[in-house]
Amino acid sequence: MSASALELNASQPVRLEANQLPPSILLRNAQLDKSTSRSVETASKSGEDEPPIREIPAFRLQIKSLHKVFKGEDKDVTALQDINLSIRPGEFVSLLGASGCGKTTLLRIIGGLERNYTGEALLEGKPIKGPGRDRGFVFQDHRLLPWLTIENNVGFGLSHLPKKERTEIVKSHLALVGLEAFAKSYPSQLSGGMAQRAAIARALATNPEILLLDEPLGALDALTRLYMQEELEKIWKEKPGLTVIMVTHDVDEALYLSDRVIVLSPRPGRIKRTLEIKLPRPRPREGHDFNQFKKSLLEEFQLSHKQEEPEFTI
């Protein structure tokens, strides 16, 4: 990709169409990638014939021309290429993609766990320098500390608070995830779904503005997953203003939960498409609208029935 294209991209102010409510999307790099399939064109259409444009108010998170390269022994691997992305307060955004598309790397950059990238990652307008209590992180494996009871795990990030206050916060967050009865249990005594709920409570206890979820339900069985998706939505609704960024490879999960789905394509990881999901909540998991969105997302992975013609025949 040429340097001039990047500059152009970086210099463009973040804009959106005035008639969209809630205000929408700001992805420019999909336009740059002319080589990919027709779906990209549909994505960029809304940007093309723009009606009146206004400047957007402050974003919670902005990523500008972000590149991330992992230095290997014999060759370097570009994990993320030219990522541009802005996320509003209170938004639920999913990063959707196959494994190896860099979605977890992007999340870890936002979480401050990965450094050494080029471009900008701004939180409330300030560059991200490292992890902080303003962001909660939930890993795919719950990572509850086995030597602490559930209440002490949930209160792990609250050691700076006086005991009374800490106890109250822990109590309310255990209630939020429905684990009051397990306060004194150890993580080994919890099921997978319960442990992940405790991990979410731990991440939320510090009252972060952004909750970062790295395939939080990926290790759970199918039924627990469905239940946990509903729980996640409930928790998100109970914390007004909480921004959630979730990495997932599950199309249904992304559609069920997200205001916006960002599709990443692998090697190198780029944003391929952004999809606003304007469906009322709680969303039925079937129905025409849901399936339309699903179909269009699956097309990104070339998994729908409308497969492209093979380029050759035998």
């Binding site: 890993f139 030597w147 510090t206």
Partner: protein, 262 residues
Amino acid sequence: MSTRKKLDLAKGLVIPVLFLSVWILWTRSHESLLIPSPWKSVLATKQLWETHALQGYLVTSLRRYFFGLLLGTSLGFAVGGLLGSSRWLERFFLPNLNMFRQVPLVGWIPLLVIWFGMEDLSRVVLIAMGAFFPILLNTHAGIRRVPAGYLEVGDVFGLSRWERFQRIVLPSALPWIRSGTILSLTFGWTILVASELLTQANGGLSDILDVGRERFRLDTVNAGIIILGLLGFAFNFLATRLWSIGPLRWLSQNIHNSHEAR
């Protein structure tokens, strides 16, 4: 106790009971000086107790054991902790310590005797050397094997270096440290007897063995062996119990096994 546990315990008792039965039956018809009957050993123990000899031996031996263990395990834990926390120190010291460790402990005895005399000090130092290495190596290994995922949890919550050590590294290494202390305990007990047999009439439990051997009273020798064995077992049991109370309860919940020494 569940039926299952009772059954397991019963299985463990089969061999001792068989052994004791054979011993009793054999000595009924073939009692000799070389194989005295078990009753005689019991009587010998009783006699040792009644003459207050056993109490004296116990106090002397336990004192040596206690000070040796205290010195060895605390030093071993401190050094293991330092070498686990600093790669730099590790490169300087670990290879040398490993070399040092290859000298069989009993091989140090002549040197220790010359330096510290045929006194309790020599014995305490030898026991400390025996207890030093198991806890050192286990503490070091435990700290080195803290799962990266747990450290990342610390990063996410912005822990300082010291907080990270105290709240993540150390607890995560506890299963290893527990194994280390129990190994040190067992090893120290062995070294105690070895160090006592160095001199006769040293006032410790090994005197029972010595006196018995000199007077050709194998019942007394057997009594000494049984007392040493029971005490060793008791220490081990006690240590395991101590490592599973209160906030250490999680250690015995059969979790975290992936990082435990086997």
